[in-house]
Each structure stands twice: as structure tokens, then as C-alpha cells.
């Protein structure tokens, strides 16, 4: 039983049990609010009966020309509601908005190279490892830049993997 709707400020006061999970980062307020102020369609929450927060996704749309794309900044599901394909639903929603409303070429995301369960999940959702970003996480751990092409990228040019890893300063966007 799931209601997916736009994330609102009050949800910040309700996502405690999702964010106490050690893999979910609690960002500062201006980070959340900048996303809400700029890309409200890319920030969705999913609720269970009793208005419990099950999980949420936040992202944005950015880039120029053929690199105009949707980006997943965070997607998280509370342990209580895992194994119900909720992350998939949230990801599909963001992909849909990037595809149909903003007409992006692809959706991308970063994941810790060591986070095998997450990498596997993204692969199941159709993402491929596009390139490795050396020491992306606090200058220590490598990040993987994963991508999924959208309908506008007819020839799927955006998801041809790069051969060599890059450094964070070579990234086009943060």
C-alpha cells in the first residue's frame, strides 16, 4: 500500500526512521530546500498507511545539449519496507519525469564502488556502469557513475562505457 507524492518540507520531520539508517545521509537544510525550490518534480516520498514514510527519492535535471539528463541524488527505503520493489517504483517515476516532461537523454547516479547490493539493484533496473570516478567519496573511495538511456537517446550513445576512469575534477557536474 503505497502513496507516492511530492516531498514537502514537513516530510523532513517525518523521515526519521528512514534516515537513522546508516546508509542514508541527512544533508543540511539548504541542500534539501535547494532541491525542493529548484526541482520539486524530482523529489518524491512514498507513504504507507498511518502516513508512515516508506522511502523517498531526490534528484535533479541538468546538463547541456546531448548531456541534458536526469540525476538521482539519493534514493532510500526504510528497512521495514524493503523487498517490495519500492526503490524501483521511485526510480521509474524519476525516469519517467526525465523522459516525458524534461525530455532528457539519460538518467545517471553515483554509487560507492563497494556498495555491491545497490550496484546490483541498479543493474537490475537497467543501469550500466558508465565510468569509474577515482576517490569520489571524500577523496577516499571510488564512485561508479551509472547510467540508463532514455527514449530521446535513440542510438543509446550516452551509455557507451568509458574505457578509462576519471578524477572528480573531470566531472561535468557535481
Amino acid at each position: 500500500m503505497t502513496t507516492i507524492r511530492r516531498f514537502s518540507c514537513n516530510d523532513l520531520l517525518r523521515f526519521t526512521s528512514v534516515n537513522l539508517d546508516h546508509l542514508t545521509e541527512t544533508f543540511n537544510m539548504s541542500f534539501y530546500m535547494t532541491y525542493l525550490a529548484r526541482w520539486p518534480d524530482y523529489f518524491h516520498v512514498s507513504e504507507a498507511p498511518g502516513n508512515r514514510v516508506m522511502g523517498y527519492i531526490m534528484g535533479k535535471v541538468e546538463g547541456q545539449g546531448e548531456s541534458w539528463h536526469g540525476h538521482v541524488t539519493a534514493v532510500t527505503v526504510s528497512p521495514e519496507y524493503r523487498r517490495q520493489q519500492l526503490a524501483k517504483k521511485l526510480m521509474n517515476l524519476l525516469e519517467d519525469i526525465s523522459d516525458k516532461i524534461d525530455k532528457g537523454y539519460f538518467v545517471d547516479l553515483f554509487v560507492r564502488a563497494s556498495n555491491t547490493p545497490a550496484i546490483k539493484m541498479y543493474e537490475k533496473l537497467g543501469y550500466i556502469i558508465y565510468r569509474r570516478v577515482l576517490r569520489y567519496y571524500s577523496g577516499e573511495e571510488d564512485g561508479l557513475d551509472m547510467r540508463k538511456a532514455l527514449s530521446r537517446d535513440v542510438e543509446k550513445k550516452s551509455v557507451i562505457p568509458l574505457k578509462r576512469p576519471i578524477t572528480p575534477d573531470e566531472l561535468e557536474y557535481d
Binding site: 500500500m1 502513496t3 526519521t16 537513522l20 539548504s30 525542493l36 498507511p49 528497512p79
Partner: protein, 1003 residues
């Protein structure tokens, strides 16, 4: 800033950029050098001055920064038009905002806009100023001017948002909404509308005026195509129809949504609401503040005849069955949970269908019982069942759980679910002790048996059966409550600590542990567990309630101070930056977020915890420095002698406080910070639903904050009053200013007594009777500390009365001794609450009394070395008041000595003995059969026999590293540390009093 570079006030970019670069890289000295040289070339450039002000402010030279800003402002106001540009003004604004002089920035922009009435950039700057000031009327006026100038849709919407904010926040008349509607209509007629967010604002504007049909017309017209997500559009349509009481049309819309997304719970509730013509669900729609989980949905049926009800419900059942068929292979919970909701409504209506509801709950269990969310999914259904039906349900679930054919993970999931249901229904409180014990042991075995399932899991992933340890610990706490056998608590600690050793990421264990540690006085460990939760940013608002109260009542001042400061910093930062983010939403045309941000900022500003933390931070400083009256006076001066806090106290009375804490994560036995069942005798409680604690809290919390807010001012006035009291007691005429001070003190004491629910004279009677033993101190209830404070300051107001001094001495002596006696007679577990009270008495009322004595003696001491003892001082020495002070000092010294002695007696036990005592509570007495230690025995024997091949290397290593004695040692050491910190405080107070005694003898 980079994009703004150009010619600013005639300065070329190449000269300016290095200054910004230096500022950005925090090389302020270098920046200052550069800006000084720039100013030598352009001494009359407001922009160069603004840059200098910026650098000065960053270097902490705030006075200089402000005066440079004023200099720049003066130049801007001179009639030299070429100097007036947005870059200069916005730079000035940055500095002035940081200096808390937003008004100056606004007047600069207002002046600029007056000079160049057609400059859109400057007007935007001015609009931004009003956003920062939350001046919605001026925002509206400015936006309208911009709209008239440029004719752009966004400026019109800025104006409309400003109007909506006036209605929502300033409670301005709703006529304004009509004006906004007119503006939009006119705009649409000439320019149409182009942004989906603009359409949303238009609809919300109509909705705010209950013009649902007008809104529907807009939505179904051409503009409706602006909303690209079909479901979103349908949701709005359904809501508008329902609110317009056009239920049959709404039902069709909701059906459509359910066909598109059959798992949409909220939509199903709306569908059912429309079907039953029940509008209660919309009651909260405009009240967008709802953040606490709704437990029981209010239902209204009275208007429906039975026949109507039956036919409506049966059409709902038809739809649900269809949805179930359509989604048969998808594993969606929605259509099945909908069936439960229908049965629940029937029961609430008065149908005798409880057996059918049980049957549906069972079916839902068979399908989804292995999922971790079963219990919370059905919580609302459990609430409506009669107690014996709840028992029956648990029985049915046990009987039908699949123990043969299903996979191990499924069995584990189902078993865990049954226990969670049992917890939710409160059934567990009715079971006999040995059954609970046996159940806990079974769970421990189950946990061990299932550890191999997690063998190959990534350490990041949740393990199978993790919840079992939380459930066991809840049972053990209940056993403790019922038997008062400390061993059960010790065992709960061990179970959870072992759980953390196996997987350190389980936050539920950390929260349970922090509460148990707090209860038994092992606060340093509690705080450690709290820190391990990595609570930061917005979580400080929602999660710190777990630890804050215990810390406030503890002697761990350093940790408390960092806790309060981190929290206040987060809140203050947000309150400061929120307006900038609101402006960002304006700029990106996300108007609905504009309204949301403003309301959210208000919500945090009125947070009860924030208001309390502000005054507590001040009180903490006063507590920490109470041994030195000079330090205390410095702090009071920084607090503006407490005047602002008194104003806050008055303000809070009329304001609504917000409760943003997430109480759901608290253990059952302490559902809110003010409540701890373990402190009282065992009673059956049903914690389904966990009561909505916030409703009762508001008045109490408000009064508590109001009382605390008065304290700094009362302390300040008491010090003033007492500084001349001794002299006056031998002289006849007091000065006029003293009368004024004493008058204010008396007023505040009246106010304080009123907050205690009493008149001044009744309050005095109360403390007098208690000191004389005519009344028991229990009649002070949980306000004990406030009454003692009252007694202290009452004495400060009437120092010349020997009886008052004596009464106060007796009061301290009596209350402190009572606590020491109570500790002596209780077992090791429950004594900490008494220690907590002692800590508070000594660090608050007694400390304030110490200050008053310091103030009295200071004024009576000869002020210079050369002055010899005079006849005057002889008078002082022999005056009744001087004698009263001496007696008081003597009495406090010996009372404090008693506390110290008790503390020393506790700490003198060698660590080994204390450890032994702790561990002995866990030792099983085999002859007696039951008792604590059984669960731990299961876990320990599993550890001893486990093999690496079975549980995998990681878990194996964790198990082998476990040592019960180590965990016990940490606990007793933490308990001792609290006592040590407390002892230090007592000793420092006693030393102070000894010094005062010495000084008094020289008078």
C-alpha cells in the same frame, strides 16, 4: 558571484576578482590588503567600501564593518546616479544581513528603486529584501510594480503568493484573495497562463475561498493541459469534487486512479470517504501542519441509513475484488489492505463482523505476514478490536503460521510479525511471568538458529531476525517492571550490546540502550549510544528528545553544552537562511514551495524544543558559573539581565507551540520525555495506540518554558536586592532604586507562583508547611524544583526575615535527606532518579541560594584594605540577618557534606566489587527455575558452540569478541563517572560555602 562581475562603480573586473578569490579561499588578511589598495585608488567608490565591509565582517571586525557600510550608504544616497547598481547593493546586503541590520539593506534598495523607478534588477533586489524581512504586504506592492512594468507572469505570481502569505500568516482578511483571483483572471484573459506551478497556485487560491466548482472548471479547461502527469491531475480533480460534495463524480475519478495505480492507499481512503459521504478526511487538508502519523481515521456514518451503508460498502467490495483479481501476480499490498479497511468500517458502523475482520487479518497475514511492515499496516485495525478478539487473533496467527513448507526466512518473518502484533495489542501485559520468560528464551534460540541465514550478507545489509533482539529486550524490561529484579535490565543491556557487536548499524538497539542506560544512571554510555546515531541537521529537531531531558538533569555539563549548542546552531542557521531559499523558490517559479518554506520556517521557530533549548542554554551557563558571583554577573549582562527571556515567557503564553519530535522511535515504557512507566508501580498498559502524547504535552511544556524563562531575571533581581540587604537591615532608609527592584522581583514571584498554580500567599504557605513537616514533600509533585526555586527567591525578596532563612535551610535539609534515605532503601536500579533530583537541587535552587549569600556577604565586606573594622561593621556582625546567613551557610555545608559522604560511600566500593554485584544479578539460581539470565545463557552457549563454517567469518569473529564482563564493566564505570562528576560539583559548592564562612567571620 562570478557571473556578476563587470564594471562595478567604475572599477574594472581584474581589480575586483582577486578580492573575491581571497574571500572565497578564506584568506581574509590578503583580501584586506587588496581592498585597502583598491580604496586608495577609488576612495569614493561605494562598491570598494562594500567589499571592505565584507572583508571586515568575515574577519570578525563587526563594528568596523558596520561603519564602513554606513559610509557606503551615505555615498549611495548622495546624488551621484552612476554609483547605484545591484552589485554594490547586493554586496552591502550580504554584509548587513550578517550584521543583523537587514533594515539598512532594505532602505538602500528602497532608495535606489525610488531613484530609478524602472530598473527591474533593483526592484528584484528590493523584493528579495522584503522576502528576508517577511514583509508580505511590501512584497506584494513591489511585485505588482514589477508586473506592471514588465507584464511577466512570474511577477504576478510573486504578488499572488505574497497575498496568500498575508492571509495564511498575518491572518489578513480573505478579501485579499478575491483581489488575487481578479488579477490572475485578468492576466489569463490577456496572456493566458504558461507554468504548471502558476496553475497550481490559481487552483489553491480558489480552493482557499471554497470555490471548488470554479477550480474544477479551470482544471478541465485548456489550462488543465499544463499538468502533464495524469494521476496528479486526477487527484486534484477528485479532491475538488469531494470538497464540493459532488461525491458520485468524485467516486468515478478515484476509481480511475485506482485502476491506474491500485496500490494508492490515500486514494482508496478518499474513494471510501466519498462513497460513505464522509468529509472528515478533508478536515485536515488545509491544516498542512499534520506531521504526526494518523492512527485512527475518524469516520462519520450517522447520516447513512443501514440500507445505504450496505449498498455503498458492497460496491466498494466489488471494486476491491476486481483490483485483487487484476493484480493477482504482482504482490501489491494495496487491494488486500483495502479489504481490511472495509471490514474495519463495517465494524465501526456497528455490524457484528468481528469474525470476518479476523478472517481478513489472517488472510492478509498468510499473504504478507512475513514482511516487516505487517504489524504497522494493520495497526489501525487492531485498535478497533475488543480485547478478547485481539487475543483470539494472536492465537489464529500462531496456529496458521507456516512452519513446515515455507522457507526459513518466511518462517522467521512470520514469527517476528506475531510478536509485534502481540506487542501492539498489549496482550503481553496479561501473560504470566514465566510465559514471558519462556517466550524470550524461545526468541533467543530462534535468533541463534537463524544467524546462518545472514552468513553471506553484505555487512551493510540488515540481518535476518534483527528485530528479535529488540523484542526480547522489550520483554525483559517488562519483566523488570513487574518484578523489580535488576537482573532483567542487566540482561536487556547484554542482549542489545551483543546485537551491536554482531552488527553495529542497528539504530533501534542504540535507542533502546540509550534509554536503559539513562534509566540506570549510566549516562556517559547513553550519550555515547546517542552520538553513534549520528544525529545531525534536521534530525537534531526530531531525535534529540531521546537524550536531552536526561542530560539537562545530569552533572554532565560539557556534553550537555555541546548538545544544546549543536542543536541551537542548526535551528538558528536555518531560521537565518530560510528566506534566501524562499527567494530561490520564487526565482525558479516554484510558487507552492514559497508558501511551504515560509510555513515551515514558522513551524521550526515555534518548536517547543527550540524555545526550551534557548532558555536552557542560558541557565546552563548560569549553573556552570554559580560559584562566582562576578562571572554570573557577566553572564547576566550578556543576557541583558534576563529582560528578553521574561518577554519570551510572556509571549509564549499566547502562542501555539509546535511539536516536531518523532516520538514513534521511543521505547514503549517511555512514550515521551516526561513519562517513564518504570518509575511507578506495574500496571497494565495498552500501548496500541501509543497515545497521542503531544496533545497533553502542550500546556505542561509551555508552563515549564515560561517558568524557566523567568529565572535569569529573578536571579538578577535577587542579586541586586540582596547586595544592599545586609546594610539596610541595620540602617533604616532604603534607596528608591532598591524599592523598584524589589517591586519587580515581587511581581515576578507572583507570576512564578501563578505558573505553579498558586497565589503568592498560598505558595508561601505551602513551602512553610513543608519545611515544618506539616505537609509532605510529595505534595510538590513533579514541580519540586520549581517550588524550591520559589522558596529561594522568596527568601531573597524578604532577606531581613530570620524565619525565612531558617525555613529555607530546613527545606533544603529535609528534601536532600529524604532523597538520600530513599536511595538507601531502594535497589541499585531505581536509585538514579533520586540522584537526578539531588543533582538538580544542588545545581539549581541551592546554587541560586549560594549566589544570594555571595551577594549579601560581598556587600558587607570592607571594600578596601585600609578600612579598619568600624562600629558599623560590628552592627552588621551582630545583626539578626548576619546571624541568619551564617546559620544558613553552616546548614548548607553540613547538608552538602552528607551528599558527598553518600557519593563517596558509593564510589569507595572497588570496581571489582561493583562489577561482581552487577554480574551477580545475571547469575541464574538453578533451584529457583526462572529469573534473569536465561536468555543470556542461551546466547552465550550459542557463542561457545558456534562454528565459522556455519555463520560465516564476519559473524563468527564478532561472536568470539563478545565478553559479558566487559560490557558490564563499561556500565558500572559509566555509572561511577556520573557520581564522580556530581561529587565534584558538591565539593566545589561546599568549598565556596567554607570560604564564605571564613569571610563572614571577619565581618
Amino acid at each position: 558571484m562570478a557571473s556578476k562581475f563587470g564594471l562595478a562603480g567604475g572599477i574594472p573586473e581584474r581589480r575586483v576578482r582577486p578580492i573575491w578569490d581571497a574571500v572565497d579561499s578564506r584568506q581574509f588578511k590578503n583580501a584586506l590588503k587588496l581592498v585597502t589598495s583598491l580604496l586608495s585608488k577609488y576612495p569614493k567608490s561605494p562598491y570598494a567600501l562594500a567589499l571592505k565591509a565584507l572583508v571586515c565582517e568575515r574577519m570578525g571586525k563587526t563594528d568596523e564593518a558596520l561603519s564602513v557600510c554606513l559610509e557606503a550608504k551615505e555615498l549611495l544616497y548622495k546624488d551621484d546616479s552612476s554609483l547605484m547598481d545591484d552589485l554594490t547593493l547586493s554586496t552591502l546586503q550580504i554584509v548587513l544581513q550578517r550584521l543583523d541590520h537587514l533594515d539598512l539593506a532594505t532602505s538602500c534598495y528602497a532608495h535606489a528603486c525610488g531613484k530609478f523607478p524602472n530598473n527591474l534588477e533593483l526592484m528584484m533586489g528590493l523584493f528579495n529584501c522584503y522576502v528576508r524581512e517577511y514583509s508580505f504586504v511590501r512584497q506584494q506592492q513591489t511585485a505588482i510594480k514589477m508586473y506592471k512594468l514588465a507584464g511577466e507572469e512570474r511577477f504576478l505570481l510573486w504578488a499572488v503568493c505574497s497575498i496568500q502569505l498575508q492571509v495564511l500568516c498575518d491572518k489578513s482578511g480573505e478579501k485579499l484573495l478575491l483581489l488575487a483571483e481578479g488579477l490572475i483572471k485578468k492576466h489569463i484573459a490577456s496572456h493566458s497562463m504558461h507554468e504548471p506551478e502558476a496553475l497550481m497556485v490559481y487552483i489553491s487560491l480558489l480552493e482557499q475561498q471554497s470555490k471548488y466548482n470554479d477550480a474544477l472548471e479551470v482544471l478541465s479547461g485548456d489550462l488543465g493541459s499544463l499538468l502533464m502527469i495524469e494521476v496528479d491531475k486526477l487527484r486534484i480533480q477528485g479532491r475538488l469534487l469531494a470538497r464540493a460534495n459532488d461525491y458520485s463524480a468524485a467516486i468515478d475519478v478515484y476509481k480511475k486512479i485506482l485502476e491506474l495505480s491500485p496500490d494508492d492507499w490515500e486514494c482508496f481512503l478518499h474513494y471510501l470517504g466519498c462513497l460513505l459521504e464522509d468529509d472528515s478526511i478533508w478536515k485536515y487538508f488545509d491544516n498542512i501542519d499534520q506531521i504526526h502519523p494518523t492512527k485512527l481515521i475518524e469516520c462519520k456514518f450517522s447520516h447513512l441509513t443501514e440500507e445505504m451503508f450496505d449498498s455503498r460498502i458492497s460496491s466498494a467490495s466489488d471494486l476491491v475484488q476486481k483490483l485483487q483479481r487484476d493484480t493477482e501476480n504482482t504482490n501489491l499490498r494495496g487491494p488486500y489492505l483495502a479489504e481490511l479497511e472495509i471490514e474495519k468500517r463495517k465494524l465501526l458502523y456497528g455490524k457484528k463482523n468481528d469474525n470476518k475482520l479476523l478472517e481478513s487479518l489472517l488472510q492478509y497475514f498468510l499473504k504478507f505476514g512475513h514482511l516487516a511492515c505487517y504489524a504497522s499496516d494493520v495497526e489501525a485495525c487492531l485498535q478497533v478490536l475488543a480485547p478478547h478478539k485481539k487475543v483470539e487473533l494472536v492465537g489464529m496467527l500462531v496456529k496458521n503460521s507456516d512452519s513446515v513448507s515455507a522457507s526459513a526466512t518466511k518462517v522467521l518473518g512470520q514469527t517476528t510479525t506475531i510478536l509485534k502484533v502481540q506487542e501492539l495489542t498489549g496482550n503481553i501485559f496479561e501473560l504470566p511471568l514465566d510465559e514471558i520468560e519462556a517466550s524470550a528464551v524461545t526468541l533467543a534460540k530462534l535468533y541463534c538458529q537463524n544467524l546462518p541465514l545472514s552468513k553471506d550478507l553484505d555487512p551493510q545489509e540488515s540481518m535476518f531476525g534483527e528485530e528479535l533482539l529488540s523484542l526480547i529486550s522489550n520483554m525483559l524490561v517488562q519483566l523488570f517492571w513487574r518484578t523489580r529484579d535488576f537482573g532483567y535490565l542487566a540482561e536487556a543491556i547484554m542482549v542489545l550490546e551483543l546485537g551491536l557487536t554482531i552488527r553495529g548499524h542497528v539504530w533501534q538497539y542504540k535507542i533502546l540502550l540509550l534509554h536503559i542506560y539513562s534509566y540506570i544512571g549510566a549516562l556517559p554510555l547513553a550519550f555515547e549510544r546517542y552520538k553513534a546515531l549520528d544525529v545531525k541537521n534536521i534530525l537534531t529537531e526530531t531525535v534529540s528528545h531521546h537524550i536531552l531531558r536526561q542530560m539537562l538533569e545530569s552533572p554532565m555539563w560539557v556534553d550537555l553544552s555541546s548538545l544544546l549548542n549543536d542543536y541551537l546552531k542548526f535551528m538558528d542557521d536555518h531560521l537565518r537562511e530560510s528566506a534566501d531559499l524562499t527567494f530561490l523558490a520564487y526565482r525558479h517559479r516554484n510558487y507552492s514551495k514559497v508558501i511551504e518554506f515560509v510555513l515551515f520556517k514558522q513551524r521550526l521557530q515555534h518548536s517547543n524544543q527550540y524555545q526550551a533549548a534557548r532558555v536552557e542554554a542560558s541557565l546552563l551557563q548560569l549553573k556552570q558559573n554559580a560559584n562566582s558571583i562576578e562571572e554570573e554577573e557577566r553572564i547576566l549582562e550578556n543576557l541583558k539581565s534576563g529582560v528578553q527571556l521574561v518577554e519570551l515567557s510572556n509571549d509564549i503564553g499566547s502562542k501555539t507551540l509546535r511539536f516536531n519530535e518523532d516520538m514513534q522511535t521511543r521505547p514503549w515504557w517511555t512514550p515521551c520525555p516526561e513519562k517513564n512507566y518504570l518509575l511507578g508501580p506495574f500496571e497494565e498498559i495498552s500501548y496500541c495506540p501509543k497515545e497521542n502524547v503531544n496533545q497533553d504535552r502542550e500546556e505542561n511544556v509551555k508552563r515549564a518554558i515560561q517558568k524557566k524563562c523567568l529565572l535569569p531575571r529573578i536571579i538578577y533581581l535577587s542579586i541586586q536586592c540582596s547586595s544592599t540587604a545586609l546594610k539596610e537591615s541595620v540602617e533604616t532608609n532604603g534607596s528608591g532604586s532598591d524599592l523598584k527592584i524589589c517591586g519587580e522581583l515581587k511581581l515576578l514571584l507572583e507570576e512564578y507562583a501563578k505558573l505553579l498554580g498558586s497565589s503568592l500567599s498560598d505558595a508561601v504557605d505551602m513551602i512553610t508547611q513543608i519545611s515544618q513537616g506539616a505537609r509532605s514533600s510529595e505534595s510538590l509533585g513533579s514541580d519540586l524544583m520549581d517550588w524550591l526555586n520559589f522558596a529561594v527567591f522568596w527568601n531573597a525578596w524578604s532577606l531581613s526575615s530570620h524565619e525565612h532563612w531558617h525555613m529555607l535551610d530546613l527545606l533544603f535539609e529535609k528534601l536532600i535527606q529524604e532523597r538520600i534515605r530513599s536511595i538507601g532503601s531502594s535497589k541499585m536500579s531505581s536509585c538514579y532518579s533520586d540522584v537526578q533530583v539531588l543533582v538538580q537541587i544542588i545545581t539549581e535552587p541551592l546554587a541560586w541560594h549560594g549566589l544570594i549569600i555571595q551577594s549579601c556577604t560581598r556587600s558587607s565586606l570592607p571594600s578596601g584594605k585600609k578600612k579598619k573594622k568600624t562600629q558599623h561593621s560590628d552592627h552588621l556582625a551582630s545583626s539578626p540577618m548576619s546571624q541568619a546567613i551564617k546559620d544558613s551557610v553552616q546548614s548548607l555545608c553540613s547538608t552538602l557534606q552528607e551528599v558527598s559522604n553518600w557519593l563517596l560511600s558509593q564510589m569507595n566500593n572497588p570496581e571489582v566489587d561493583q562489577l561482581e554485584r552487577f554480574l551477580s544479578t545475571l547469575k541464574r539460581n538453578d533451584d529457583a527455575g526462572g529469573g534473569p539470565g536465561q536468555v543470556l545463557a542461551v546466547l552465550e552457549s550459542f557463542i561457545a558452540s558456534s562454528e565459522e563454517s556455519e555463520v560465516g567469518n564476519r559473524i563468527f569473529e564478532a561472536l568470539k569478541s563478545w565478553n559479558t564482563a566487559d560490557a558490564a564493566r563499561k556500565t558500572v564505570m559509566a555509572q561511577e563517572r556520573v557520581l564522580r562528576e556530581f561529587l565534584q560539583i558538591c565539593e566545589s559548592k561546599r568549598k565556596l560555602l567554607e570560604t564564605l564562612k571564613q569571610q563572614m567571620s571577619h565581618i
